[in-house]
């Protein structure tokens, strides 16, 4: 079975599990929307227009709650399931790719819905033609965060304090993604080019892809 076929199979299994449990859209997403509402309520009256901070709040919450979505599979994986994957001869790179693709798909949907919620709650002043660049930024940030969370989830798997530790590992490493994604809308509002920020996102994603695929075998050994 080819690497791609194995990867899509891993992705399919992860998505089927998610469809049955429904953590992302039934629990984490409403929780993230509540966090958006808390921010809008807690914004001091001295801030003249709450819409000015809307996109910044969106990216902060998208990354922090997105980590929960992306880490969900890694955190709940049992030793037995890992053993079965190894006995079946599943390529570790395919496992990394499949898991990341599933998380990226969920994160893209999660962030897209959260962005719509932010627009409704904060009514930000979006620049003209924002839809495609924002969609692309969300997609690239979701892909990067998914790969980062897959790597961190494996590194912290089996440890007593794995949830807190994995979050500590991901949050600072996700900064290039946050900067790149948040600056896309910022640059459009200021009539500056967005290419450099898209390139930053693509470079970070490629670096994580190379690291994830290249380190997948040692990662499999290390997580046991």
């Amino acid at each position: 079975m080819s690497l791609w076929k194995q990867s899509t199979e891993v992705m399919r299994v992860d998505l089927v599990v998610e469809q049955r449990i429904g953590d992302t859209f039934r629990i984490v997403l409403p929780f993230a929307v509540v966090a958006l509402m808390i921010f809008s309520l807690a914004t001091p009256a001295s801030v003249s227009d709450v819409g000015d901070v809307g996109t910044a709040v969106f990216w902060g919450i998208a990354i922090l709650y997105g980590m929960q979505v992306a880490l969900r599979t890694s955190m709940s994986e049992t030793e037995q399931r890992k053993d079965i994957a190894i006995l079946l001869g599943l390529d570790p790179a395919a496992r990394f790719l499949g898991r990341s693709m599933a998380a990226a798909l969920l994160l893209t949907g999660f962030m897209a819905v959260l962005f719509v919620a932010m627009v409704i709650l904060f009514s930000p002043d979006l620049p003209g033609g924002w839809a495609w660049p924002t969609g692309l930024a969300i997609l690239l940030a979701a892909v990067g965060l998914a790969m980062l969370a897959t790597l961190a989830g494996e590194v912290a798997s089996g440890l007593r304090n794995r949830s807190a530790l994995a979050s500590l590992l991901i949050a600072p490493l996700a900064i290039p993604l946050v900067i790149g994604a948040s600056q896309v809308l910022e640059s459009m509002a200021g009539d500056d080019g967005i290419l450099i920020w898209i390139l930053l996102l693509i470079t970070t994603d490629l670096a994580l892809l190379v690291a994830g695929v290249g380190l997948s075998r040692p990662l499999e050994e290390a997580s046991r």
């Binding site: 790597l151 500590l168 590992l169 490493l173 290039p176 690291a211 040692p218 290390a222």
Partner: protein
């Protein structure tokens, strides 16, 4: 241990020389005596970058060869890198308060990314503390050490990517914007701090070797029961 002591002595001499040059070098017209912060701030942050680079190198070499010495090098370098980065940020804050009128500005990309870089390596050290088994610890932290270095170029180039409060590089491939005497003082201080880094690195790896030896001695029964030493058996 003797070599570490000699290195520390050389570092102390070099830092004294560097300090003298820093205090006698020409002052910047606008910054006055606070120019002297340059000779601590820049070397410490440069060495933090170097330290995190060595952590990445040690991590990659461990993944390739599984030699424990590379893991010890990565750990020692990360610890010293965090120390130098914290000193660099602190001196930067003092300098910023004096020159910009504020110690910290979240809108400044260099400050924000440097703070985040420190947290990346605090996470690396936290991961190491969380895993008791030395082999598992070495393997997992090697993976993180390899990925974490992605932050270093972002911090370095943040002043070029964003036009914010922090100035861009003063020494560039096309020349320097600094007085030659200031460049000499800066280079001497970079060398002095590098010697200090080498001494601390040697000392920390020495301690790590002792820790590894001790862990091997007590591993079978944990900390409460130690296996009998050869000398104790002979005494009986």
């Amino acid at each position: 241990m003797r070599r570490v002591q000699i290195m520390l002595l050389i570092a102390a001499l070099a830092l004294t020389g560097g300090g003298y040059l820093a205090l006698t070098a020409p002052l910047d017209d606008l910054q006055g005596e606070f120019t002297a912060m340059l000779y601590i701030h820049v070397p410490t942050l440069w060495l933090a970058f170097l330290a995190f680079g060595i952590t990445a190198l040690g991590s990659i070499m461990y993944l390739i060869g599984k030699k424990p010495r590379w893991d010890r090098a990565a750990e020692a370098s990360a610890e010293i890198g965090v120390l130098f980065a914290v000193v660099g940020v602190f001196t930067g804050m003092v300098w910023g308060q004096a020159v910009w009128g504020q110690a910290w500005d979240w809108g400044d990309a260099r400050l924000a990314t440097t703070a985040v870089m420190i947290f990346v390596y605090i996470g690396y050290l936290a991961l190491r503390r969380a895993i008791p088994d030395p082999d598992v610890r070495a393997r997992r932290s090697a993976i993180l050490g390899t990925i974490a270095v992605i932050q270093v170029p972002l911090v370095y180039f943040s002043v070029n990517l964003f036009r914010t409060l922090h100035q861009t590089q003063s020494i560039r491939p096309d020349g320097s914007t600094m007085d030659p005497a200031m460049v000499v003082a800066l280079v001497v201080n970079v060398v002095a701090f590098t010697i200090l880094f080498a001494a601390l690195f040697m000392g920390r790896t020495y301690v790590a070797r002792l820790e590894a030896a001790r862990a091997t001695e007590t591993a079978p029964a944990g900390e409460s029961v130690s296996p009998p030493r050869l000398k104790e058996i002979e005494d009986v």
